[in-house]
């Protein structure tokens, strides 16, 4: 198997220049940390409720103690006081809300809008409390203990309506930076193939009896192996250091490997086409960044009109969407179609690149 020395040589190159591999790994991890930290305060959905001290006027109530005690978990501290004292504070603006407990009635006096957090919390709590109290009253009056709510114990799991987990900013950028760096694997693969021509070693490769198809194949395999290695290290580091949620690793690998094959194939094809068409590397970089930008790698572009509609054509969008669906919705149905799509595009790209690679005889030498 003459492909082994070829692969060994590519890996030797990589080991001899660890700084480039290091940068390819360190960069996305650092970027995940910076973006994750920077945007965590914006994206978090957990609100720490402030402690609220609310005047409570009990004119004729038998349930004042229960009403007060049950409010503790939601950080509302009902402070009993006289009506005169409460109204005086209310007028001075020291309090925006007063709750009156009267015989069978909860009255709420407020100077704020409906959207005020304190106002909202008092209304929600009072509403829940009154429903619960009414139920107890009905059960005791009609002898219907079956209507009592279930005891919460180990056998009963309570769930909210929104059962799906949501990605934190670290989760979001842990995925998008991973797919971004794999997209930049395009340049890495292009470099791997283009290097020989620049280094003039392609003369030795082409004059050797080793078929050019084998040399080309080994380049493709080496590019994919190196990118897979980088992606694995990034996933491991992000998971362990930032706790990024990548979901089921098998599903992640099933999504990322075809994507990696695609990015490497794209890089190799662009390299060959660029040489053929005398394009500069800048055009390749532009194309890659266009995919990344339109695909929402840097920030979501759904709302950006035409760009938002263009994103359906970006492989970055395809892979990010599939990963998020796999991780947060448990959906794996995109794995096979996306794998086929990336696979077919890769085959086309590699056939074109392979043809150009084997045909580039005259470009390999100085014409004197």
């Amino acid at each position: 198997m003459r492909i082994l020395p070829l692969l060994k040589k590519e890996l030797l190159h990589l080991l001899q220049t660890p700084q480039s591999l290091f940068m390819m790994i360190l960069f996305p991890i650092a970027l995940t940390w910076v973006l994750g930290m920077g945007l965590s305060s914006i994206s978090t959905r957990v609100i720490d409720l402030p402690e609220m001290a609310v005047p409570l006027v009990e004119t004729d109530s038998s349930f004042g103690d229960v009403y007060r005690d049950n409010a503790a978990p939601v950080n509302i501290d009902f402070v009993p006081m006289t009506q005169a004292e409460a109204l005086e504070r209310f007028e001075r603006g020291e309090n925006e809300n007063i709750v009156f407990l009267e015989s069978g009635t909860i009255r709420h006096l407020t100077s704020t809008s409906d959207k005020s957090l304190e106002n909202l919390m008092i209304r929600m709590y009072s509403s829940a409390f009154s429903h619960q109290a009414n139920l107890f009253s009905y059960v005791s009056r009609h002898g219907r203990p079956d209507l009592m709510p279930l005891e919460v114990n180990d056998q009963v799991e309570l769930k909210g309506i929104a059962t799906q987990a949501e990605p934190s900013s670290f989760d979001y950028y842990g995925v998008t930076m991973l797919t971004l760096i794999m997209m930049y694997g395009t340049l890495q693969a292009a470099e791997l193939v283009g290097f020989e021509a620049r280094n003039r070693t392609n003369i030795r490769l082409k004059t050797s009896p080793t078929p050019m198809t084998l040399i080309f194949g080994s380049k493709v395999i080496a590019a994919i192996l190196i990118l897979t290695l980088q992606a694995s290290i990034i996933v491991a580091a992000n998971s362990l250091v930032f706790g990024v949620n990548y979901g089921h690793l098998g599903q992640l690998a099933a999504l990322l490997i075809p994507y990696g094959v695609f990015t490497c194939s794209l890089g190799i094809a662009l390299n060959q086409l660029a040489s053929k068409l005398k394009l500069s590397e800048g055009i390749m970089v532009f194309l890659i960044n266009l995919f990344l930008f339109v695909g929402g790698a840097y920030f979501p572009v759904d709302q950006l009109g035409v760009i938002g509609t263009l994103q359906q054509y970006s492989p970055v969008k395809w892979i990010n969407e599939a990963i998020f669906q796999s991780v947060y919705q448990g959906l794996s149905e995109k794995i096979v179609p996306l794998g086929i799509r990336f696979g077919l595009i890769s085959v086309v790209l590699l056939v074109v690149a392979g043809y150009l690679f084997s045909q580039r005889g005259a470009d390999y030498v100085r014409i004197d």
Partner: protein, 309 residues
């Protein structure tokens, strides 16, 4: 036995004729030189023979095998040392030689021995495990040659291997080539340095604008030049210049200081007639030197321009 035969070779780049209907052959154990200025078509010829680029017309036969029909088999017989350095700077000397050897199917102990052997041959054994980027220009050139030898070739193609290196490395390379040739290796050597071609090659083909303008041994090539023999002499007394001019075959007479510089068609009869003339006029010849035409003169005669034009 002919190891290489090139017939009616043509290569065009658009409207430019890079190689124009050339023919030559190389015998077993020869050092064959392709001499010509930059742009003469030497490298293009080598690139076609080594399978790097496609020819437009003609045939190339290597050790009896047709290059078109048995390209891979032909490649196993050839070692190539490209004009420009074709080595990996970030790998060690041994890793470079080993990799290129492996492309020719060498492996295991055989490959390891070949690596040691070739590095020793080019004098880089002690640098075996050093990265190439730490090497001097001359050392890189030597490694470039070692990589071509690692393939255990029957014919070695060297394309201007001494361009841009120090005299010490140049001598080392030239000596190495002689040594390889003594061991029986056939060498095809392109250069635009006439001294190298003269000192190294058994036979030389002179190329210009894609054509071979002359080929043969140095003596055969010299015989193509009729007016570049110089007889330089110093006498104790002056003599009438017209007497020398009258000698048949003398093309010109010049005096530089006290020295006569006489250009003639060949050294044979003119030298005898000159000596007779001086004896007859009782002149004492204090110093006499005959200069043969060199490759520069030959090239100038054949093409009307110098090699470095």
């Amino acid at each position: 036995m002919k190891v290489l035969e090139v017939k009616n070779l043509v290569k065009r780049y658009g409207k430019n004729l890079a190689v124009s209907d050339i023919e030559f052959s190389v015998n077993q154990g020869e050092v064959f030189g392709l001499l010509g200025p930059n742009g003469a078509g030497k490298s293009t010829t080598i690139n076609i023979i080594t399978g790097l680029i496609q020819k437009d017309e003609g045939t190339v036969t290597i050790l009896g095998k047709d290059l078109d029909k048995e390209l891979t088999a032909c490649k196993y017989d050839m070692g190539v040392v490209p004009q420009e350095l074709a080595i990996y700077e970030d790998l060690t000397a041994a890793q470079n030689v080993s990799f290129f050897g492996s492309l020719y199917g060498l492996k295991g102990k055989e490959l390891a021995e070949k690596v040691d052997q070739t590095l020793a041959f080019v004098g880089l054994s002690d640098k075996k495990k050093h990265k190439v980027k730490t090497f001097s220009g001359g050392m890189k050139r030597r490694l470039n040659i070692a990589c071509g030898l690692a393939t255990d070739p029957k014919i070695l193609f060297l394309d201007e291997p001494t361009v841009g290196i120090d005299p010490q490395s140049r001598n080392h390379i030239l000596e190495s080539i002689k040594q390889l040739n003594e061991q029986g290796l056939t060498v095809i050597y392109t250069t635009h340095y006439m001294e190298e071609a003269e000192s190294l090659c058994d036979r030389i083909a002179i190329m210009d604008v894609g054509q071979i303008v002359a080929q043969g041994t140095m003596d055969e090539l010299r015989n193509l030049v009729v007016d570049h023999w110089f007889i330089k002499l110093r006498t104790n007394q002056a003599i009438d210049e017209a007497l020398i001019q009258r000698i048949p075959g003398v093309k010109s007479v010049e005096t530089i200081g006290d020295q006569w510089v006489i250009a003639c068609q060949n050294k044979g009869t003119q030298l005898r007639d000159l000596i007779d003339l001086f004896i007859k006029h009782d002149q004492m010849v204090e110093e006499l030197r005959v200069e043969e035409p060199d490759l520069e003169d030959i090239f100038l005669t054949l093409t009307g321009k110098t090699l470095r034009d």
